[in-house]
């Protein structure tokens, strides 16, 4: 029974939460003030949009593609949310829906013409950024009140970012990992030829996955604006690399449809907390940037240690 609980697969799955726990405990230790409702809220609220973007990236990675444009896309969504959605909600929401459709279209284009997604999305990153500059030439705009009040919600007992992250992880987990439809979507990452042989349309699957990525990208942009209260065209460019790193940190792989939504959310949290951890250390400014790299390396090295310990058992 114990053997079954600690099978390699389960242990592999335990690595991301363990890394997160270690990081969190170190932060609590460095700055006990964070161990409060108020502290956790401040510590984690900016991780919510990152987690959403990471989930978006995960859908793309699941079908063996890579999205280098998600950061630009989230920025564009943030700009649209802070302007059009705020001023003319109907038009704004329509524009966001059109963006999701555009993502599905990208999926179709990539599949039909057999294009490398890296190049297409690299091109799209310029397009999204350009559109964002056109929508909002100078930083500004204002978050719609309903988003602002949602993102600053203060539920009793458990801080909102924790509730939101857990809900996000569970919903996507059930939809992608447990449902019958999600299984087919993941299968397309594992062996697309086999799915085609079984009569599934890879085109439709790709479009679905890209549309889902677009959808979560939109949620990410809206959540971000809810926190920052206004937008600028460069606001989320960093999300591209963060989201890829988050998926990988969460145990996902670049090819083969091996992804984990829970892991991805945890990965995003870990990345967000790594930055905080450092500012609590009060390093010499020269090395603050380098320390961010060092901490990523340490977190990943930790995983290696756990893995080896497991092997030795």
């Amino acid at each position: 029974m114990i053997g079954a609980i600690f099978s390699p697969r389960v242990l592999r799955g335990l690595l991301p939460p363990l890394s997160l726990a270690v990081l969190l405990i170190s932060i609590f230790w460095l700055q006990p003030r964070t161990m409060s409702y108020f502290g956790l809220n401040l510590l984690l609220n900016l991780a919510v949009p990152i987690a959403l973007a990471t989930i978006a990236q995960m859908f793309i990675l699941c079908v063996n593609e890579l999205d280098l444009s998600i950061g630009g896309f989230v920025s564009l969504v943030a700009c649209i949310t802070a302007t059009w959605v705020q001023e003319t909600p109907l038009f704004g929401l329509l524009a966001l829906a059109a963006l999701i459709a555009a993502y599905a279209g990208l999926g179709a284009l990539i599949h039909i013409r057999q294009l490398p997604s890296i190049v297409v999305t690299l091109g799209m990153s310029f397009v999204w950024l350009g559109l964002a500059v056109l929508v909002l030439p100078t930083p500004g705009g204002k978050a719609p009140d309903w988003i602002r009040s949602l993102m600053t919600l203060k539920p009793p007992m458990i801080p909102f970012p924790i509730i939101a992250s857990v809900a996000l992880a569970l919903i996507v987990h059930v939809a992608l990992m447990r449902s019958a439809g999600g299984t087919v979507l993941r299968g397309a990452g594992g062996n697309p030829a086999a799915l085609a042989r079984a009569g599934w349309s890879i085109l439709r699957i790709k479009m679905t996955m890209f549309a889902l990525a677009g959808f979560f990208g939109v949620l990410s942009g809206m959540a971000l604006v809810g926190l920052t209260t206004s937008a600028d065209a460069n606001i989320a460019l960093r999300y591209t690399l963060l989201s890829i790193a988050g998926v990988i940190l969460g145990g996902g792989e670049f090819v083969g449809g091996r992804v984990s939504p829970i892991g991805a959310v945890i990965g995003a949290m870990t990345l967000a907390l790594a930055g905080s951890f450092l500012s609590f250390l009060r390093l010499n400014p020269d090395w603050q940037i380098g320390a961010q790299g060092a901490i990523l390396i340490i977190v990943l090295a930790l995983r290696l240690l756990i893995r080896q310990a497991e092997k030795r058992r």
């Binding site: 700055q31 003030r33 964070t34 502290g39 401040l42 510590l43 609220n45 900016l46 949009p49 990152i50 950024l129 964002a132 500059v133 909002l136 030439p137 100078t138 930083p139 500004g140 705009g141 971000l224 926190l227 920052t228 209260t229 206004s230 937008a231 600028d232 065209a233 460069n234 606001i235 989320a236 460019l237 960093r238 999300y239 967000a272 930055g275 905080s276 500012s279 609590f280 009060r282 400014p285 603050q288 940037i289 961010q292 790299g293």
Partner: protein, 315 residues
């Protein structure tokens, strides 16, 4: 009130160029003295790894958690940090922004009139080139407000003087090599140009590109970098080349520090302060060059007295 027990933090969004490095060093120099003589208890500097709003917002939230009494911010975006700044104010933290200022009303702002700076460049050129002519504009990073402000000032100046036409505009991202590349690309297709208006950090790159293309050297407005001043000096000595140089002094971080200290001290400080930009002309070139570190930026650091003067001037 006494500020001896107070702790002040600097939240900086970018450290990747010489201006920011000079800014950090000025901070270090002035604040370590202030800590040593017991004016404040601590003055720590924090820099984000990448120039990103989200990262800086998280950083500010962490500084709140660490219990700093004041946070001095050079912001990645005037609006994007308002959420975090509001959190800080709500938690009773004094927020002072400078250079990259924030619009959240609860924060203090030490602003530079970037628009005026752009306009002054054109006014200088109009004075120097009474016949007018074609201008090349080098802009900063698209979508950042400083870029928009300076550019707006330049265009306003061009419209007012009515002598110039901007025949080309490129983004140099405030980086030497990027400016050099962009100018080299557009230059061959341009007619003769009499002047280059810039935003700082890009003048030397433009000069290199123009030299490589074998064109007559137009009047390039410089941005106070030592290599720009050095080049200007060499040209001046060789052929009497004339221009001007203008930028914001990195030492403004120290002014922000003193303003924060004053606010903590209970002084009555208006929310909006303005600092003049640092301008170098043909006459004081040598003098400024001499005081500027090789490879650095022309700088002015502020003392408590200077800060008090700025504050009372704004009353």
């Amino acid at each position: 009130a006494d500020t001896a027990g107070k702790r002040i933090a600097l939240s900086n969004n970018y450290a990747g160029n010489s201006w920011r490095q000079a800014m950090l060093r000025s901070w270090e120099k002035v604040t370590s003295a202030a800590v040593a003589d017991g004016t404040v208890a601590a003055a720590d500097a924090f820099t984000t790894a990448e120039n990103q709003v989200t990262e800086q917002a998280a950083q500010i939230q962490n500084l709140i958690l660490q219990g700093y009494d004041a946070i001095v911010i050079n912001a990645a975006s005037p609006e994007g940090l308002n959420g975090a700044v509001k959190e800080a104010c709500d938690a009773g933290v004094t927020v002072v922004s400078f250079d990259g200022i924030v619009t959240e009303p609860c924060a203090w702002r030490i602003a530079v009139n970037f628009k005026q700076m752009g306009k002054d460049e054109v006014l200088y050129l109009a004075d120097k080139l009474p016949d007018g002519g074609n201008l090349l504009e080098i802009r900063g990073l698209a979508g950042v407000f400083v870029d928009d402000e300076i550019s707006a000032g330049i265009h306003e100046g061009v419209a007012e003087t009515g002598k110039f036409t901007i025949v080309g505009s490129v983004n140099g991202n405030w980086a030497q090599d990027v400016a050099q590349k962009a100018v080299a690309g557009i230059l061959p297709s341009l007619p003769d140009i009499v002047g280059v208006v810039t935003q700082g950090g890009d003048g030397y790159g433009a000069a290199q590109a123009i030299k490589a293309a074998g064109r007559d050297m137009p009047v390039i407005v410089m941005g106070n970098r030592q290599d720009e001043l050095q080049w200007w000096k060499e040209q001046k000595d060789a052929n009497g080349y004339e221009t001007m140089s203008v930028s914001i002094a990195p030492g403004v971080s120290t002014l922000a520090f003193w303003v924060a200290q004053q606010v903590l001290d209970g002084a009555d400080v208006p929310k909006d302060l303005t600092v003049p930009f640092l301008r170098i002309d043909q006459g004081n070139l040598e003098e400024n060059l001499a005081t500027t570190e090789a490879g650095g930026v022309a700088n002015v650091e502020y003392s408590l007295e200077d800060a008090k003067t700025v504050i009372s001037g704004a009353m």
